[in-house]
Symmetry: C2
Subunit: 393 residues, 2 copies
């Protein structure tokens, strides 16, 4: 369980298999984001049919609504949301650090104001582990200190060092919870013992250090020194820094990452980011852009972005992307999709979101095929040559 | 084509088969409403899987967005919206008459102000036929004059007589369009000849007369005198009058309706309305309540209405309706559905809408089975005994 097997590599690019309690994940792979236990606007059967092997749940959002106790009472996030395949939950850290002006960071943890009801709450390394254990995903993420993309060396060092200290606390609490006999650390039911969610769960650490190569390397070394992790995440990228900077950071430690563990680049990305990330040794990605852009009528296609709301699509009979095999492209015209958006009919949001999700998943599938065939370098160069990130949007 | 075959009857209740260009409709049947060429929030594959045999499109809404010329250029409403089965379009009359303060009624037609862009437009018996022909549904509806549910005898007579005069004009224009060589009567492309949508289309008249039995009978006689219609609709009910009054009106002319034509009760209804309507000889129904209520979290179940937003459902593991065979009830718990609504996740709207659509369709299916078995009277009595229209909502 939780084993990763490297099948092939080409440069830094890798193809592998990750065994998780709810199934196997063939990498590289994009993980759609299911904020509230549902990939926005999509039915789990649609997400499954799109080829998604694993989806992500947001600890911050699920803690606020419906609350982890509700999810646990309903048998955990997989059962609650009727998603049969692997899941990963983030730690909530990224969300609470994004609540600028609404949170206070201390060594103990983060005090924040709920964006739902204004209540003051606390998230700590320990409570993040407790919440994630109650949610019961296959993979829990460490509670880290995220700094902005342009953070100074000093600020990035502070966040990175705190992330290491918090990792110790996450690891200790996660091990306690795993050993059973645990009770909740926070909330109204804190003293009522409840049975733990039965499915095994692993904990992945997060590399921080901003855009500073030396800090990233120290973060990696400090992290590896703290345990035999089953996977390693890279956080604090795609948070405002220029893309070439992100690429440089990834290249900086790609050679130092252990070969036998999956690498997860958090919060990334756009289609071209997946290609660039895979080329730099990344195995897993997640990002809300697929569904967020989809809800705004912005679709990725093999030649670039398409804004389906544009009047030029009014009587366009062709699909969003003639080269796409998704359920939307195989049935609906651009003209109909544009009409749905103009009329405010929610089927439109759903169909374009579904297309975008499939678009990213297929990049993972095709990159994998290319790596296994030793053709990733030429395939990715060709892909990037045809794709125009700006498109018509 | 357009033939209706009566298979069995029990009292006024009927089971039959209606042959339409896009397929056969087994009656009694509920027609989901696809306002903008999509049943709100639902994928055509979901609507088809729910057992829908025919859906309705709104001429008023489709005329404003995307416009009938766009639909025609895209090959008609079936092809445009990727709906392979029969369709019916209303005349737009009900919508423009509902625009109180925004429309002027004259013998020629109705001048109204678009709720989209404030533009002043006109709908006439002729232009309604032209728009519906461009949309290309299997069944077009006559452009009628609808009066409020509590309209006086004099007002109801005026609307009923005008509906008959307009029926002559609808019939004439529809025949011209059917004969081919027609051009558009309105809009910027009025003079550019375009090929008619190829699929055959029939025209159904609408009985008016408010709640007044004598006017309803005159309307029916006047309508039957005007042509060998392939179906007959009953309009102007469920528009504010008490339900017993609607039942009395239906009973008043149920015996006078021709046996060999389908009867369509427009804009009805709720589950109990279908049962009561079928008992009074109705074959077809349509209503937006299934999807509108669904979007507000109000679900019909075999024991009555359930408001899924209620806190009592927070950790409820059972489906909306344990007796339901819909795709929602077979996979999702009340607790999860409540969570989706509380979190504002649009999957919730969709899942409850889908349940409600299937709920009405299944009433048609079960009523049909009961009528064919000669058990409608006992089945419907039992159904109504268990169902509480108010429920917990």
């Amino acid at each position: 369980m939780f084993e990763y097997r490297l099948e092939a590599s080409e440069g830094f690019a890798r193809a592998g298999r990750l065994a998780l309690p709810h199934g196997e994940v063939l990498t590289p792979a994009f993980m759609p984001v299911g904020t509230y236990g549902a990939v926005r606007g999509l039915h789990p059967a649609e997400v499954e049919a799109s080829g998604a092997q694993i989806i992500l749940g947001n600890t911050y959002h699920l803690h606020l609504r419906p609350g982890e106790e509700t999810v646990r009472a309903m048998g955990g996030l997989n059962r609650f949301s009727s998603w049969p395949r692997p899941m990963l939950t983030d730690s909530g850290g990224f969300q609470v650090f994004s609540l600028a002006g609404l949170r206070t960071i201390e060594e103990g943890g983060v005090e924040f104001t709920s964006h739902i009801d204004g209540s003051v709450r606390t998230l700590t390394p320990e409570s993040s582990m407790e919440i994630q254990r109650a949610l019961g995903a296959d993979v829990a993420m460490a509670f880290d200190h995220v700094v902005p993309g342009q953070a100074s060396w000093a600020l990035a060092e502070e966040g990175m060092e705190r992330t290491l200290r918090w990792l110790d606390r996450c690891k200790a609490r996660h091990a306690e919870l795993d050993a059973g006999g645990w009770v909740l650390g926070a909330g109204e039911n804190a003293t009522s013992p409840q049975p733990p969610v039965p499915s095994p769960q692993t904990l992945w650490p997060i590399i921080q250090g901003g855009v500073h190569a030396d800090l990233r390397m120290r973060s990696l070394e400090g992290t590896l020194a703290r345990g035999p992790w089953t996977g390693i995440a890279i956080g604090g990228l795609s948070v405002g820094e220029p893309k070439p900077v992100m690429h440089r950071v990834l290249e900086g430690f790609a050679g130092a990452l252990p070969d036998d563990r999956p690498r997860y680049l958090m919060g990334v990305g756009f289609p071209e980011d997946l290609i660039e990330g895979i080329a730099r040794g990344v195995d897993l990605f997640d990002c809300v852009a697929a569904t967020r852009n989809g809800r705004h009528g912005s679709a990725w296609t093999s030649v670039g972005r398409v804004n389906i709301r544009k009047a030029t699509h009014r009587t366009a009979d062709e699909p969003l992307d003639p080269a796409c095999d998704c359920a939307t492209c195989s049935r609906f015209s651009r003209g109909y999709l544009r009409h749905l958006f103009v009329a405010g009919e929610m089927l439109g949001l759903r169909l374009v979101s579904l297309h975008n999700v499939r678009f990213l998943i297929r990049i993972g599938e095709r990159a994998r095929t290319a790596i296994l065939a030793g053709e990733f370098s030429s395939w990715s160069r060709e892909w990037l040559r045809h794709y125009h990130p700006r498109g018509d949007a």
